[in-house]
Symmetry: C2
Subunit: 212 residues, 2 copies
């Protein structure tokens, strides 16, 4: 890696948690200078604009999150175990970039503003949903899921419930909403299993578990 490239990557890694915590407008040049240890000119030698740096920081944050959550997915066999694995990892492996889920932060931050960031967030969402829907489709084709379930709906509901629960958990500094989301999604996935599917062991319905 050339020195300029290494500096560029270092700036992106340092800027990522700043943008993820404070949003695009909420991130000041002063904060970026402190985080990178560079002057304004030193930063803008590598990036055409604040928007370009924010976009690279978002891509970097997402990559880190995907790495920590989904790197082992290919070792999991079967559609339902794969979906359960993705839910478990979302709940158990917090974002390695300070500030929570970069997708949610960027989505909320950009939905009334920055169109370039909004497009990146929409693209990341599509990629995640397509991945989940593809797994569900494979489960349908393999007879693992009940005929007629809708892969797109499964994907949308998993993402919505997890992201919403993360928002609740962060604002309350409590893991309960994430645990509630996980238990409910797991019971729900069980209910979508094809009746003849024996690979999915029957679990107690966690909705009927008394709170601890």
């Amino acid at each position: 890696m050339r020195k300029g490239e290494a500096t560029r990557e270092r700036i992106i890694a340092a800027a990522a948690p700043i943008f993820n915590q404070h949003g695009y407008n909420g991130t000041s040049m002063q904060q970026l200078m402190e985080a990178t240890g560079l002057e304004k000119g030193g930063i803008y030698r590598h990036f055409g604009s604040k928007e370009e740096l924010a976009a690279e920081a978002f891509r970097f944050s997402l990559d880190q999150v995907r790495k920590i959550r989904f790197d082992e997915l290919s070792n999991v066999t079967g559609a339902l175990p794969k979906l359960r694995y993705m839910i478990e990892r979302f709940v158990e492996a917090p974002s390695p970039i300070a500030g929570g889920c970069p997708l949610m932060n960027t989505a909320i931050d950009s939905d009334d503003g920055n169109p370039a960031l909004r497009d990146l967030a929409a693209q990341a969402l599509r990629r995640w949903r397509n991945g989940l829907a593809r797994i569900a489709t494979e489960g349908l084709e393999a007879g693992e899921l009940s005929p007629g379930v809708d892969p797109r709906r499964i994907a949308n509901v998993i993402i919505s419930t997890l992201e919403g629960a993360l928002m609740l958990s962060r604002i309350e500094a409590s893991r309960t909403p994430l645990a509630d989301a996980r238990a409910t999604l797991e019971a729900w996935l069980d209910s979508l299993a094809a009746v003849e599917n024996v690979s999915s062991p029957k679990r107690p319905n966690p909705l009927k578990t008394q709170r601890k």
Copy 2:
């Protein structure tokens, strides 16, 4: 209402959509001056700080949202119809304040920053959850819900799924994630009904509906 008080309320109403769209740090004095038609001094004659104005704007936005969504709730009878009504209203009645759900926006905006706003968001979340959990508890006591379901979990999952779906719908400019969330939550509520409960008509499982 005294003139000062009327001006104060007018400032809050004008500032509410600005804060809701752009967040606390993302809202500039310039934007507030343009929205209110007042100079900086004219605004700060009524509010001790930007934080105080933001807090009042958040309270105002929440009140407007509650009014449009839940004003008719007391006319609905039964726990399951009440929960379904609240889900339907969330999905069908968009926030009257530009920028989407003030709770989600303020939660995401303040979770790494402003503690006063974070407390207000946490308080609004508790109030919403307690309302939902109280309805579920009444449903349990009335034998409408299956014994052993957990009211707190029901409340957390409804809020998480709706808020997450709203985030997806906004970033994609599509109502599909909200429609998917509603259909899934309704089917899920049906599955929580006590078996002997005849007030809940059996519906086709919307998870098994082919996409249109």
